[in-house]
């Protein structure tokens, strides 16, 4: 028997059915060892940057939960996040590792010819930080043929997490805004009623469609949120406004795609 036929993954089937109907799903890592490796590397790097000692290998999550104790809020927190993002990108192939960690569901969504966002976004949200992410959606501007992968490196729930409006709710608030654009209070009430804070434990990722409205609140919990978000799309899927050469890089291509393009070069 060759390796070409795989048994159906019923858990992935259910998650992807949710993805299609609601626009999002929470999936467990199919390669948790890779996720653990990214998290440990991120913990080591973060503590190296703040110049503080970190705990032992079994304290990675706890170290990240209390990272805010070593970084002042405000501008210093922003500078830290940018430095951490740059260092992560230079030292590790984060996009490839995230795809590997969640490859089973991601490959079912985007296929095997895959573009990955060149620089994943690292989000550091210490308790009380007054600058959460405003309500927005990625598409249009980003292509609606992308998948957003939101990976928490700590257990996230309540205001330590992010909120999302599912497909129906996103459609509803958009329709309300178009019909009542002079009623910000009504819009806010509807948003508060429909937005759901996502519970995403470490070891899982939230996969969501870029047409969903989302954002975050001031983190009122006692622990830091450290998370990463990045995007994947099929190599030949329609583009949004982002310049593909600056925003994406090729992660995987199939032998068939490589043969087809080679044929075009040789005989075209």
């Amino acid at each position: 028997m060759t390796g070409c036929h795989r048994p159906r993954d019923h858990m992935a089937d259910d998650a992807l059915a949710d993805f299609e109907s609601r626009g999002y799903c929470v999936v467990a890592a199919t390669d948790p060892a890779t996720l653990d490796r990214i998290r440990a590397a991120l913990r080591d790097l973060a503590y190296e940057l703040v110049g503080a000692p970190h705990g032992s290998d079994d304290k990675v999550g706890a170290d990240l939960d209390r990272l805010h104790q070593h970084v002042a809020p405000g501008e210093a927190a922003t500078a830290f996040r940018l430095t951490l993002t740059k260092a992560m990108t230079e030292r590790f192939d984060v996009g490839r590792d995230v795809f590997t960690a969640f490859e089973a569901p991601l490959a079912r969504l985007v296929g095997v010819d895959v573009l990955a966002q060149r620089v994943p976004n690292v989000v550091f949200q210490p308790p009380g930080d007054p600058r959460p992410t405003e309500l927005h959606r990625d598409a249009p501007a980003n292509s609606p043929y992308e998948v957003v992968v939101w990976v928490p490196f700590v257990d996230c729930s309540g205001t330590k997490s992010m909120y999302l409006l599912d497909r129906a709710a996103s459609h509803e608030v958009l329709a309300f805004h178009r019909e009542h654009h002079d009623d910000p209070d009504g819009f806010r009430r509807l948003l508060d009623a429909r937005a759901a804070l996502m519970a995403v434990p470490y070891g899982s990722a939230l996969l969501f469609w870029p047409g969903l409205f989302h954002g975050s609140l001031v983190n009122r919990e006692t622990e830091t949120r450290l998370s990463l978000n990045t995007r994947f799309k099929h190599l030949f899927a329609p583009l949004g406004m982002k310049d593909p050469f600056r925003y994406f890089r090729i992660l995987h291509t199939s032998p068939l795609t490589r043969l087809g393009l080679a044929f075009e070069r040789e005989e075209g």
């Binding site: 030949f236 329609p238 070069r265």
Partner: protein, 152 residues
């Protein structure tokens, strides 16, 4: 080891103001040259005295290959892959000929440096695929859809 001699290729933007989303003004030729000189130094080489300029959306004239030969350049530093872009299409044929002539191509804005055949082949796949995608996405309706930022 001989220091690499790089030919710099600049881009004349079609508009000096807001040349693309999020960019307030286009970099001048002098600014582009300085940036490419710095890139050449980071790669352990120098920029040759002559630079070549491509007009935005019109692509690069194939005579750039004559300049590569005359300057004995052993690498080409492009401000952006857009110097090779004619309308929506990257001139992959000229891209391939530049590679064959030098074996080293740097892309400043895209932060790519192609120095090995696999790295070039990998980037070529992206360029060819994006040519297909852009040709297919070229309808006015799609452009309006993805640029409509007034949806909320």
């Amino acid at each position: 080891m001989k220091a690499g001699r790089f030919l710099g290729v600049l881009l004349e933007f079609s508009s000096a103001v807001n040349p693309e989303p999020g960019v307030q003004r286009a970099p001048t030729a002098a600014e582009q040259t300085r940036a490419l000189e710095q890139l050449a130094r980071r790669r352990g080489g120098v920029l040759v005295a002559t630079t070549v300029t491509a007009r935005h959306g019109e692509g690069l004239d194939p005579s750039v290959l004559d300049v590569v030969a005359a300057e004995e350049a052993d690498g080409v530093l492009l401000l952006s892959i857009d110097v090779l872009r004619r309308d929506r299409r990257i001139d992959v044929e000229l891209f391939e000929r530049l590679w064959a002539a030098t074996g080293e191509i740097g892309l400043l804005i895209e932060d790519e440096h192609l120095v090995s055949p696999p790295s070039f082949e990998h980037y070529m796949i992206l360029a060819m695929a994006m040519n297909h995608v852009r040709a297919r996405d070229a309808t006015q309706e799609w452009a309006l859809f993805v640029t409509d930022s007034g949806r909320l």
